[in-house]
Amino acid sequence: MTAFVYQFLAFAYQVADVFAFLVLAAGGLAIIFGMMGIINMAHGEFITCGAYVTTALVRAGLPLPVGIVMGALFAGVLGIALERTIVRRFYNRPIDSLVVTWGVSLIATQGALLVLGSAWTSVGTPLGSIGFGDYSFALYRLVMLAVAIGVLVGLYLLFMKTRFGVHARATMQNPAMARALGVPTERIYAQTFGLGAALAGLAGGVYAPTLTLSPTMGTGFVVESFVTVVVGGADVLTGTAPASAVLAIIRAACTAAWGQVFGLIGLLVTVCIVIRVLPEGFSGWLMRRRA
């Protein structure tokens, strides 16, 4: 009996772990996509950026949480800069925006390789581990889950309870009308892009201690974040969150049963099915059901 409980706990821990990964990896991408219909191909580079800034600051002696926050802020500022200089020219050309952000991503990755070299020493995972029966878990991964949930709650409050949120949602639904009512939509776009980039930076910072840093590390998040956004659709709260939960269960179950390869393949098969059945993802489907 206790063995079963431990078994269940272990599975739940795995699901939670994947859930946190997907929410953090995809949150920033989903916000930008939901707001502007733009697929930010440089998403992975913002993750990398957050990870490097965090690591650099921790190595310079700052505490990890401060490093993570600074990493997120730095990525956010870079995001706003990218939006102001390049992305804003492409709001009515979503496909070109995909191409142009891909170009930016190439420049960023290869530029980072040139400047930073190919790998950095990690700062080490803080906190210890706790044991249950045969298993032991890293406590830090529970912190990641807490951060992921915190991000979702934070986004809920931001979008539902603040003036920025009201303006952002209005802009999302009808930018021309929002503008005619005095909403500074350009600023909203820049801020949202910055927010998406900052969330990507946050993901990078949070995962930095557990990974080997390299300029190409962002690509390790990209496939998962695309999958989550496609399955979730254009809205973070009604899309990304449930999509992450469902995908986490599928991935954890496939990995537990058949190994890592099938965990990954399970994800990709799910995407293909969801796209055929719900072309606009979970949130699109929910929206149409409610309307």
Binding site: R163, V166, H167, R169, A170, Q173, N174, A176, M177, A178, R179, A180, L181, G182, V183, P184, T185, M287, R290, A291
Partner: protein, 237 residues
């Protein structure tokens, strides 16, 4: 009647792509007036409204508001200056609640601190009742009331109404007409609207411009409009 000129258009030209629609509009609105622009379908009334709020660029000519040239200002700045825009087809934010829709309107007339929630809810009791309802699930008439309420929240100096009666039940049209008169009377809000519905025009307008082929071709006083024959001719030009 006050005599200060609030809005003045001079030789305004605009259009879509390379197709001209407005070919030199001249009109002016005094503070506190209710002015209608009437004309057949497709003469450029909605184009003029979109040009006024700034969704469409003015090719040439001028738009003066309180004496300042604003034709190169973006829409949000015009809203901050006090333009309250109620577009054709309402364009409420469907997936936001009534209250949230109203909150978006707060940016209008940015400098005024007092936001008129109480007054809007008093004028449109249905909005108070459905505060938490998603705007997309309401009827056309309710949405029109919401669109007007949304534009009024920030106490704008000038309301721009584009065909307020279009697609709405006659009884609600009458309600809306009455509210607009109260708004004008009690808040002193200036109103410029375009319309084809003669009843609404007669009930609301102090003065009237007749538009055809992108130009103002005539101006009518309220008295002249009472002559149904004149009005009908103007609408069918």
């Amino acid at each position: 009647m006050p005599t200060e000129t609030l809005l003045e258009l001079a030789d305004l030209c605009s259009g879509y792509g390379s197709t001209p629609v407005l070919q030199g509009i001249d009109l002016s609105v005094q503070r506190g007036e209710i002015v209608a622009v009437i004309g057949r379908n497709g003469v450029g009334k909605t184009t003029m409204m979109r040009c006024l709020i700034g969704q469409l660029r003015a090719w040439s000519g001028s738009i003066r508001f309180k004496g300042n040239e604003i034709s190169s200002r973006p829409p949000e700045v015009r809203a901050h200056l006090g333009f309250g825009y109620i577009p054709q087809g309402r364009e409420v934010f469907p997936r936001m609640t009534v209250e949230e829709n109203l909150r978006v309107g707060e940016m209008i007339g940015a400098r005024t601190d007092a936001k008129l929630y109480d007054i809007v809810y008093e004028f449109f009791p249905i909005l108070a009742e459905r505060r938490q309802q998603k705007a997309g699930t309401m009827s056309g008439g309710q949405q029109q009331q919401l669109a007007i309420g949304r534009a009024m929240i920030g106490n704008p100096g000038l309301l721009l109404l584009d065909e307020p009666s279009e697609g709405i039940q006659p009884s609600i049209v009458q309600d809306i007409t009455r509210v607009m008169q109260r708004v004008n009377r009690e808040l002193g809000t200036t109103i410029l609207f375009v319309e084809q519905n003669l009843d609404v025009i007669l009930a609301l307008a102090h003065r009237c411009y007749v538009m055809d082929k992108g130009r103002i071709v005539a101006e009518r006083s309220a008295e002249e409009l009472q002559d149904r024959e004149v009005a009908k001719r103007d609408l069918q030009i």
